[in-house]
Subunit: 323 residues, 2 copies
């Protein structure tokens, strides 16, 4: 019996499907394509497939112990790690698609400049058609940055800041292992020493038990009053109520959140009207970007051939660690 | 009699004044410092000074034929070129301060990302607390850009786009002379051939008779419907009514104007409510940036020593050409 590959995605073009068909053919797989709303039609194929390329716990839930490799099209795999019952086969490989570095980094550069250049200050005056002079601004050039998370995403952000002549880029990671693009990388155990000297904090962390509320009220209080905070990892990495307090009191200078708790954010949530906050609806890793879609498919095809050869695909997630 | 230097600026710190005093001492000048609101107190010194470092035609108007060098603290010198009566000495040297490349380039990168990432689309929904998915976006990475103007500013913008992995950067200048950072530079005579192939146009031109209305109605009509326009040069380089029409009809995808006609823009001007337009109140070359202030003073001091040695200072403007 031929090995079965199920692809359940809503972003694929005809060209993308052709590429997957060719890769499946070379790897000895028969591919079946569905969109997420065709769950009923997909059911019997999900029951028998060995490999699934999808982006939803609901789809994964329909698989059987026959599933040996699940590829999620997103970069964050925390939702799959949090619920072991999703995998009928305890040894099923889980891999994430680390193709969002470029678009998330462009989002980070955008909001970093919006914060440094005081764009929240202009928001209401511009709505009232007031032509104002600018308050003091800062720049990426000659600026200092702390990036929490030195993985694919943190690294790409650091490279962009470096190319725009940032003065010093400090990384903070679980291990504190040196990563070339950073001036220095410190272990997360030293975070409390780093925060008082941080005037711009960028959070690019995976969602794991260790990162939940890592920026809590006590740590927010360690930041100097000229500090900005950007979060593009997971919303639960920040103690959101404490951040709102700090922003509304002017205890820190500003923040940009692309991830929040909960998502979608209810219309009556106080976060919407928090001072000096740039809020965006989880759009930084935008799959609408052609580049991201193409890369996602390219990476999947490459990994399918590796998998068929008995090699480990890239982006494999340690389900116990969560990244 | 000692040679007289007048400094009429409102942004100088004590440290800046000390640096100017030291340079003046080495150059054989006696410096006198005033703020722009001290015009009366400054009058007799303006009448006798050989060198004036200021930023206002009103101050320049108070000088005599004794003035041999006027240094304006801005990058654009068009206002001084437009009115020859400002200079009692027809041979007076006029120089501009080309220190705004870094901050204007950061502004351009910010609004470029805001346009490519569809931020105008989110403006009203976010005000209504609506959590929306993103429409298709584009990126600087792998993107194509046309920059009108290849001087200090155009060059710095091109370098930033290059470092963010833009695919192709085309320059258009008066001469069409090759500048290294661009893939190609074409003369302005070929602008009409360039525009139909331009999906992102950045205008970084000095204010000269040649650049007035250079992007007129006919040329705006040559742009494809997915095109964005950014202007950080002079407001009069764009036929503003025609650009408003094109934006409101969706004939082009969007624009970001930091310079407009007139400035300040009256509260009832239709530009305020033009569709897909990011409007900022001439803040791109922000003097509030510490870096820009320091560079301005550093450059002046360096040029003062050159001038005292009989050399030509940098940034000299051909008053007949306007840049």
């Amino acid at each position: 019996m031929s090995r079965i590959l199920c692809v359940v995605q809503d972003f694929l073009s005809g060209e993308h499907r052709d590429k997957i068909r060719q890769a499946a053919d070379r790897a000895g797989f028969t591919p079946y394509f569905f969109t997420p709303d065709q769950k009923d039609a997909a059911k019997e194929y999900l029951q028998t497939c060995e490999v699934l390329y999808a982006n939803s716990p609901d789809i994964l839930r329909e698989t059987s112990a026959a599933l040996k490799w699940y590829v999620c099209a997103s970069a964050g795999a925390d939702v799959y790690c949090a619920d072991p019952s999703l995998f009928k086969n305890p040894d099923c490989i889980l891999s994430a698609s680390n193709v969002y570095g470029a678009t998330i980094a462009e989002h980070v550069i955008m909001v970093t400049l919006e914060l440094l250049r005081q764009m929240p200050y202009f928001k209401e005056p511009l709505r009232r058609h007031e032509w104002l002079l600018s308050p003091p601004i800062r720049s990426i050039k000659d600026g200092d940055f702390t990036i929490l998370g030195t993985g694919n995403l943190g690294h790409t952000i650091a490279a962009r800041l470096r190319s725009m002549e940032a003065r010093r880029i400090l990384g903070v990671s679980h291990s504190g292992r040196k990563v070339d693009i950073f001036d220095e990388v410190l272990p997360v155990s030293q975070l409390d020493d780093v925060l008082p000297k941080t005037s711009f904090l960028i959070m690019a962390l995976p969602g794991t038990p260790e990162t939940v509320q890592i920026l809590n009220r006590e740590r927010i209080a360690l930041l100097p009053s000229n500090a900005y905070v950007v979060n593009v990892g997971r919303g639960n990495a920040v103690e959101q109520d404490a951040l709102m307090d700090a922003l509304n009191r002017g205890a820190i200078a500003g923040a940009a959140l692309d991830v929040v708790t909960p998502e979608p954010l209810p219309a009556d949530h106080p976060l919407w009207e928090t001072k000096n906050l740039i809020l965006t609806p989880h759009i930084s890793g935008n799959m609408a970007l052609g580049f991201t879609r193409d890369e996602n498919v390219r990476l999947f095809c490459k990994n399918l051939l590796r998998y068929a050869n008995g090699d480990t695909p890239s982006g494999v997630v340690d389900r116990s660690r969560g990244y």
